[in-house]
Each structure stands twice: as C-alpha cells, then as structure tokens.
C-alpha cells in the first residue's frame, strides 16, 4: 500500500505550525521554520507530480514515480530564474526564451510559479540551515500564501494545457544541461 499525500496536506500543516488558526501571539521560532520548509515542499511536490503526470499521461503509475525522482531542486531553480530574467528584461539563453515565451511574453501564471519557487526555496534554505534566519509570523504565513498561490497557478496551467508550462517542466528535468546541445 502506498501512503499518499497532497499539497493541501502540507499547506494545512504549514498553516497550523505558523499559527493561522491559533490566532494569537507569536509561535516558537522552530514552528515557524518548519512551516516555511513545509510550504516549500508543498510547491515542490506539486510541481514534480504535474511533471510526471504530464510526461506519462495514461501510462503506468510506476513510470510516473520513476520520472518524479528525476526532478532536482537546483534544476527547477535554474528554469525559474530564466523565466524571471525574461520577465524582468534581463538576458536568458536564446533557447530558453524561445521555449518559455509566446511572442516574447511570459505567461502570468508561469511568472507567479517562477518567482514563488525562487523565494520559497531560498527561504526554505534559510529556515533549515541559517541560525540568523529571521522567522516572523506574518512572513511565514505569507510564504504559505505564496505557495498556495503558486499551486493554484500550476493547476490553471495544467487545466488549460499551457505549452510553456510543459516546456518549463521539460527544461527542469535537466536544467542548464538541457540547452548545451541546443
């Protein structure tokens, strides 16, 4: 038996740890740090799930699990950075621009996903490893809000079968290596 979990379970846990329902005072720093980490993993696992599902489609479930394990945090970060660079007017590899845009524009939901991923990943790293990381209740709940918003953006892109989202997921399988022979 496989014990499954959903992004909503992580988001609910992160909300609880950060004191959204407790509604009073300032939770202990350790709780806030775990909430930040949990919010990031809600988004990471949702991305991996969609990447594997869209690649395998109606194929065997064990193929989805195999592909899901190919995704790495750093490669998602790299592709997210390309999206952000294109959106902010900075340079990005020509192939990435070609694959991630339509007529030079980046889809708004893809921007929400990219910028949320980058900030949550950096916050997760701080929360897990940096003794000086400054965990506040409003910022931590804000990170859960960011993760929830990015997951909604993923589901809209999935529902409307956005081609650039497929390219994002494809590029995220190999990051920079994917473009070397382009």
């Amino acid at each position: 038996m496989r014990r499954t979990f959903k992004a909503e379970d992580y988001l609910h846990l992160a909300d609880t740890l950060a004191g959204r329902t407790a509604r009073q005072g300032r939770p202990r720093t350790a709780y806030l740090r775990r909430a930040t980490s949990t919010a990031y993993y809600a988004l990471f696992h949702e991305l991996v799930r969609h990447g594997a599902n869209r690649a395998v489609q109606n194929g065997p479930e064990d193929h989805q699990h195999a592909i899901g394990r190919w995704y790495a945090h750093g490669n998602f970060r790299q592709v997210a950075r390309w999206v952000e660079n294109i959106n902010s007017g900075r340079s990005a590899p020509t192939a990435a621009v070609r694959l991630l845009t339509t007529r030079g524009q980046v889809n708004a939901d893809l921007v929400i996903l990219a910028i949320s991923f980058s900030d949550l990943q950096d916050a997760r790293h701080g929360a897990d490893y940096d003794p000086d990381y400054d965990a506040t209740r409003s910022a931590t709940l804000g990170q859960v809000n960011t993760a929830r918003s990015a997951i909604e953006a993923i589901r809209r892109m999935d529902k409307y079968k956005l081609h650039e989202f497929d390219m994002f997921l494809l590029l995220a399988l190999g990051g920079e290596r994917m473009l070397r022979n382009g």
Binding site: T16, L17, A18, G19, R20, T21, A22, R23, Q24, G25, R26, P27, R28, T29, Y31, G74, R77, R81, E84, N87, S88, G89, R90, V111, I112, I115, S116, S118, D119, Q121, D122, R124, H125, G126, D134, T136, R137, S138, A139, T140, L141, G142, Q143, V144, N145, T146, R148, S149
Partner: protein, 123 residues
C-alpha cells in the same frame, strides 16, 4: 557592475521600490537594498521592505508577487543583473530585529492542541 557603481545604484533602487504601487490597504514605509548570497551561494540582492502595518493572515500573495516582480524589473532598469529577493516586515517586526532574543508566548500551546486533535482524528 563596479563596486562604486553598485553603491550608487542600491539606494536608487531602494527609492524606486518604495514608490511601487502595492495592492491592499498598507503602504511601504521604508526600503533597504543590500548585497546578499542566496541559497546556491550566488551573488544576489535583498530588498528589505518595511510596511506601515501588518496583516494577521500573513503578507498576501498579491503583495509579495507585486513586490518581487516589480523589484526585479526596477533592478534591471537600473542596470543591476543580480536577482532581488524581497523580505517584508512590519515596522514592529523590523524594530524587533535588533533584539538578541524574543519572548515567545503560549500560542504554541494552542498549535500543539490543534496538531494533537488532528493526529488523533487520523487514527
């Protein structure tokens, strides 16, 4: 970008971020932009944005998305290639950063109770 040029550009970027039209009822009261090393140890910038109030439900995604996208567009316009991470604080939270240790209160007991109830419900 040279160090001198960045020294000039960071206060200009902070002033530009302060003028961002943010969604919601709160306004930006102060912005500081400083060099930062991110989780991949890459050179980046961090914009500390201080708001004139707080939100009991946490900073909204609309607020933080607006700040993050606009801060990076403004940085590119100012010739800054480094990615800008944005950290949002209320004025009180920002003032508390100077304290060595902060008192926590008993709100964690309420969280523990909620977690305990839920784990019992799963059994």
């Amino acid at each position: 970008m040279s160090t001198k040029r960045q020294d000039e550009a960071l206060p200009e970027l902070a002033a530009a971020i302060r003028d961002i039209d943010v969604p919601g009822d709160l306004a930006i009261s102060n912005v500081i932009v400083e060099p930062y090393r991110d989780s991949a140890d890459e050179a980046a910038l961090r914009a500390i944005v201080v708001m004139d109030g707080t939100d009991a439900d946490g900073w909204s995604a609309e607020l933080t998305h607006t700040l993050r996208t606009q801060a990076n567009r403004l940085a590119a316009e100012h010739g800054l290639d480094d990615y800008v991470y944005v950290s949002v604080f209320s004025e009180q939270e920002y003032a508390e950063r100077e304290n060595e240790t902060l008192e926590t209160d008993d709100s964690t007991e309420e969280i523990d109770r909620l977690l305990s109830e839920e784990s019992q419900g799963d059994q």
